[in-house]
């Protein structure tokens, strides 16, 4: 029997996996580092490392940046330098000790030591200035937007160096939501101008420094950005929603990129979820996407679910499909 890591490698190279990869099983997430971004508790509010006020109201599935006039960080994009200051990423060896121990404890033959980065560049920009203002500024103030993105890239490169120096990760799991469920937020041309060069630098740096796998999360439609993802160096697109027609993507791009998802979290992960519904969605995904270049899993961007038991129930159904199809 292959280890989790070997099995994933077989899926990605179009080889001979002996079962489906079960969601995030091959990734040992390093979440206790001193540079892991803070987030508010449910019902709480924080001002994060970049000065963005983030609230997680009771009863909501996630946190929201606050963008009223009082709280928005960038009040004028042409003067972004007056408002934006990247957080420090240098911490003592002592501060890294817990994360280093976490990494040492991982059997790297079985799992990838995986560092986690969120939010990504596109998200960071709209956290700082609101989605609407950001999207208009790509047209109206492109020079300032390029400068701001370059600044965030420099920050991400520093963060990457710290991760690499301390943990020697095997994989990067990087969030950046690039679309709604029906389309990408911006056109492929705009994406090519603003984001492809930025991510080529960041992902290239990780790869040049021993990181084997780049896993990118965008639980959205982004089928039109797959060529750009490949160019950036993404190995696995996690969060691929059913609206992307995943089997067609696998057929077209399979050997170049692996797709993780095809089970929309919204349709399995809700109050009153049922095992039968999850079984049906998992089976549909596994049968139509097949054994290679595909990892079945919920589109959610972490190895958790919004409602207790859903993640584990999904794992069980993937096990069942492995027994049926392998």
């Amino acid at each position: 029997m292959l280890t989790k890591r070997q099995n994933l490698a077989e899926v990605m190279k179009g080889g001979n996996p002996d079962r489906f990869v079960k969601q995030y099983e091959a990734f040992a997430m390093m979440m206790r580092t001193p540079i892991t971004r803070i987030k508010p508790p449910i019902g709480g509010e924080i001002v994060n490392e970049w000065g963005v006020t983030i609230r997680w109201p009771e009863g909501q599935l996630g946190a929201f940046p606050v963008h009223d006039a009082e709280h928005i960080v960038i009040k004028d994009i042409t003067k972004w330098r007056d408002y934006v200051k990247a957080p420090a990423v240098e911490f003592s060896e002592k501060a890294w000790a817990v994360a280093v121990a976490d990494a040492v404890a991982v059997d790297r033959n079985d799992q990838y030591v995986t560092v986690f980065v969120a939010p990504g560049i596109f998200e960071e920009v709209h956290y700082l200035m609101s989605m609407e203002e950001a999207l208009m500024a790509y047209y109206e103030e492109p020079e300032a937007m390029h400068e701001l993105i370059d600044y965030i890239v420099k920050f991400e490169m520093k963060m990457a160096k710290e991760f690499i120096d301390h943990l020697h990760p095997d994989a990067l799991f990087h969030h950046d939501d690039w679309g709604s469920q029906i389309n990408s937020f911006i056109s492929p041309a705009m994406f090519e101008e603003f984001f492809v060069p930025a991510y080529k630098k960041i992902y290239g740096y990780y790869k040049d420094n021993g990181v084997e796998l780049i896993v990118h999360h965008s639980d959205s439609y982004a089928a039109n950005l797959v060529p750009a993802m490949i160019e950036m160096g993404i190995d696995i697109w996690q969060g691929v929603m059913t609206t992307n027609h995943v089997p067609e993507l696998i057929k077209e791009y399979g050997p170049k990129i692996t797709f993780m998802g095809d089970i929309d979290s919204g349709v399995i992960d809700f109050p009153g979820w049922t095992q039968e519904n999850i079984a049906q969605k998992v089976e549909t995904a596994c049968r139509r996407c097949g054994k290679l270049y595909f990892i079945p899993g919920a589109s959610q961007g972490m190895n958790v679910s919004s409602f207790a038991g859903v993640y584990e129930a999904t794992d069980e159904e993937i096990d069942r499909m492995s027994k049926e199809m392998f």
């Binding site: 599935l61 790509y138 937020f185 911006i186 919204g266």
Partner: protein, 210 residues
Amino acid sequence: MSKIEEVKAKVEAGKSKLVPGLVQEALDAGNNPQDILDAMVESMSVVGEKFSTGEIFVPEMLIAAKAMSKGVDVLKPHLAGDGSSKLGTCVIGTVAGDLHDIGKNLVSLMIESAGFEMVDLGVDVPAETFVQAIKDNDNVKIVACSGLLTSTMPALKEAVAAIKASGLNGFKVIVGGAPVTLEYAAEIGADGFAPDAGTAAVKAKELAIA
């Protein structure tokens, strides 16, 4: 190209810095202010259609709406009334328990650009607030309720039910949001459904003039 055609082209291209000057030039050239406004509304309808078909994306729609808004600012003093709301008032909000505002804001922009006066109730709007807004505002023709989460779909149903049970009339209710389908909209008693912002404007207009 006539001045009005230029205004149309620049609104569609989202040239918000150029549109006010062009609108002024169109006025100076003796064009009827209502004709200029109609031309801009037509531009936004083209923009909405291109968005719905995936030809353009959110930034292009936003800058076009901004360009139109700048043009309307120049036109307003020349129009009878405020001239921008000949289709009536549209009350819009994201339903209780849901804090997503981006989709709702896009729909609001597009419906406004189609010629409605907007009353935006924001996010996390209780059903009774929708009902109160219909009472508080004149000439409400459309009530648009948004819900982005599977878990807030019951709140969408509740909002539509409360609005329908209020005894108020003269308006139609449209719903939308990521998990909402045409079938679900019909099931909860909504009068209309739109899968995206461009279609929402078309649907609102169609229902308001029906």
